[in-house]
């Protein structure tokens, strides 16, 4: 009998998740630049072409707008396309298809058309490459009504969230933290399973401050929390789904601690930190003991190499931000 679980990296869990869903449902079609024969730039689709063939693992021309636009049409007529963008920074040619069409097809047709598709894209910095190869533009998609936005931070969640995303009747932007694609392993069940969308995970319980984060920033945030143990009792909440936000968990955690920080890689201005701070003020103003601290990337394009270590929040900066909030 086959093993019941396997020790997988996050990118292997992506592959495993795609594999499970393709096995479950013949209408799931993976498509993108080099996803077929070559198994994808990050090898997230490795072996799928051999197993499922060129019709279900489609090598496309280099044309993001065409890829996503085609996926919209496929989704409208019964398929479940899973287009891959090689890097999140290459998604912009497809932005029109995503925001003007994928996200609106349902409401525009009064629910008669749906758009069940999952756009997968590796995002984020820390890999020593500038600009388009490192950026985190999740807020642009969160801002768009009609889209769900999901960011896993562990291999287990990756497979389960991807399953939920693919089975979701609506379009999902599925952002994969490429910095931790191969950073660590976790037991991932062979069987298909779902991790529900829209539910945050409390990764570490604490009573002094709630720190909200997601994706690749979860680990440095947890590290900062450990470093502060004894001094500050930090609760770390991994949001997992950025749209719809799990307001209940955010507010519940905040009511317990009365202080909050948000850690994200994206630039500060207009980032998701602002939305979380606003949510807290709307729902729990009277519990608030300090301004919500935002520990974020700079308001600049993602820089190369030497400046990357400053740009990205790391444990020391996160600890500083937490202390500032505690001392307010």
């Amino acid at each position: 009998m086959a093993a019941e679980s396997e020790n997988l990296t996050l990118v292997q869990a992506v592959r495993d998740g795609l594999h499970s869903e393709m096995e479950r449902d013949d209408d799931v079609v993976v498509m993108g630049e080099d996803v077929g024969k070559n198994g994808g730039v990050f090898r997230a689709t490795e072996g799928l072409y051999d197993e499922f063939g060129a019709e279900r693992v489609v090598d496309t021309p280099l044309a993001e707008s065409g890829i996503v636009g085609t996926a919209v049409g496929m989704a409208a007529y019964g398929l479940r396309p899973v287009p891959e963008m090689q890097f999140l920074g290459f998604i912009y040619p497809a932005f029109d298809q995503i925001v003007s069409h994928a996200a609106r097809l349902r409401t525009r047709s009064r629910g008669r058309y749906t758009c069940p598709m999952v756009i997968r894209a590796p995002y984020g910095g820390g890999i020593r490459a500038p600009e388009h190869h490192s950026e985190s533009s999740e807020a642009m998609f969160v801002h768009q009504p009609g889209l769900k936005v999901v960011v896993p931070s562990t291999p287990y969640d990756t497979k389960g969230l991807l399953a939920s995303a693919i089975r979701s009747p609506d379009p999902v932007v599925f952002l994969e933290p490429k910095l931790i694609y191969r950073a660590f392993r976790e037991e991932v069940p062979d069987e298909p399973y779902e991790v529900p969308l829209g539910e945050a995970a409390v990764r570490r319980e604490g009573s002094d401050i709630s720190v909200f984060t997601w994706g690749a920033m979860t680990r440095p945030t947890l590290e900062a929390a450990e470093n502060l143990a004894g001094e500050v009792d930090v609760e770390v909440v991994d949001l997992r789904t950025l749209s719809p936000l799990d307001e209940e968990t955010i507010v519940e955690s905040f009511k317990k601690t009365g202080r909050a920080a948000v850690v994200h890689e994206a630039p500060k201005t207009g980032g998701l930190g602002a939305e979380i701070a606003a949510t807290i003020q709307e729902e729990a103003l009277l519990y608030q003991e300090a301004p919500v601290e935002r520990i974020t990337g700079f308001d600049t394009p993602f820089p190369l190499y030497a400046l990357e270590d400053y740009y990205l929040p790391e444990p020391a900066r996160i600890e500083d931000g937490i202390r500032d909030t505690m001392e307010f």
Binding site: E33, D34, K37, N38, V41, D59, P61, L62, A63, S65, G66, G89, F90, Y92, P93, I127, R128, A129, P130, E131, H132, H133, P267, K268, T269, P291, E293, R294, I295, T296, G297, F298, D299, T300, P301, P303, L304, Y305, A306, L307, D309, Y310, Y311, A316, R317, D320, G321, D324
Partner: protein, 349 residues
């Protein structure tokens, strides 16, 4: 061509050594296209490049020293060490930039050509693109605009037969990529991209045509990259035989032989040239290795013509930072409110 080959060979080695960060896409094998094209241009003509831009830069006259510094992410590089291999730009050389976004160069070339037209200058603008990029919508938008408005633009398609790992015939329905010119009713021709004179001739004619007010031309140059798509590419999509077949037609070798046959170059002169070039590249590496990285606050430089106050506050905070976890407590201006933007964003105190 020799400078490009030496530069990129060295860049590949230094990337393998871990000295050069990020991604590098080497131009080795394709030198005749960039050099042939730029040889047919005037110094003040414009080019817009691609992610595989080192060759275009050198052919357009950029200094390998500052290029190498940019690859190393050093402040003295062409983009202050913030852009790296894929973003080198130099306004003095008329080089609009390498480009991390495939297909983004041609629209800029069209715009540059429009500025030439508008201001009645005696120049042309060249947009380089790969075979893969020909599938991008914005490329066709750009060609259509230039064609409709008869702009002095030239689109040079570097058909190296692969877009990443996908062969050209899997990406396009046309036999020759130059056939796409027909859709825009402009001349399109396919030339041997391993032959520098063939490229130069074609681009020279395109330039004359553009300057005569007859609009853009699409030149497809058939070529081949000897190295992987990027350094580190495992290249499962092709075999050594195919690479060797193209190397047998190497642009540098064949041009060298032709010049020697014609008595315009001796083998000794060629060797001297090669040595000269190697010394130049070695010096460029040394320069890059010894150059400083940009300081943290420089991340905020050049964001806008006038720095907005929010960014100024970020930058001020970053100026008080030092590397290696040791914090400098530099007094922050007392006029700064406690809860301002400088508290987070770029700040590490």
């Amino acid at each position: 061509m020799l400078t490009i080959r030496a530069f990129d060979t060295e860049a590949g080695d230094r990337f393998a050594d871990g000295e050069i960060p990020g991604f590098v896409h080497l131009y080795i094998g394709e030198e005749a296209v960039g050099v042939g094209t730029c040889a047919a241009l005037e110094d003040d003509d414009y080019i817009a490049s691609t992610h595989r831009g080192h060759g275009h830069c050198i052919a357009k006259g950029l200094d390998p020293k500052y290029m190498m510094a940019e690859l190393y992410g050093r402040a003295e590089g062409y983009c202050n060490g913030k852009g790296g291999s894929m973003h080198i730009a130099d306004v003095d050389a008329g080089m609009l930039g390498a480009n991390g976004i495939v297909g983004a160069g041609p629209p800029m070339a069209t715009g540059a050509a429009l500025s030439i037209d508008y201001q009645d200058r005696d120049q042309v603008a060249v947009g380089f693109l790969g075979d893969g990029a020909v599938a991008q919508g914005q490329v066709h938008e750009a060609i259509n605009l230039a064609a409709t408005w008869d702009l002095p633009a030239i689109f040079v398609v570097e058909n190296n037969h692969y877009g990443e790992g996908t062969p050209v015939e899997k990406q396009h329905n046309v036999d020759n990529l130059s056939d796409t010119a027909q859709a825009h009713d402009i001349p399109g021709l396919t030339v041997d991209g391993m032959d520098i004179t063939a490229v130069a001739e074609a681009v020279g004619e395109a330039r004359a045509r553009a300057r005569a007010g007859d609009g853009p031309t699409l030149v497809e140059a058939e070529t081949y990259r000897y190295r992987g798509h990027y350094e580190g590419d495992e290249e499962p999509y092709r075999d050594d035989d195919e690479i060797e077949r193209w190397q047998d037609r190497d642009a540098i070798d064949s041009f060298k032989r032709r010049l020697i046959d014609r008595g315009e170059l001796t083998a000794e002169e060629f060797d001297d040239l090669e040595r000269e070039v190697e010394a130049e590249i070695e010096a460029a590496v040394e320069f890059a290795q010894n150059a400083d990285p940009p300081a943290p606050h420089e991340a905020y430089d050049d964001m806008f013509a006038e720095t907005p106050p929010e960014i100024e506050r970020f930058a001020t905070a970053a100026r008080t930072t030092t590397d290696g976890g040791e914090r400098i407590e530099e007094s922050r201006s007392s006029s700064e409110p406690r809860s301002d933007g400088g508290r987070s964003g770029g700040e590490r105190r």
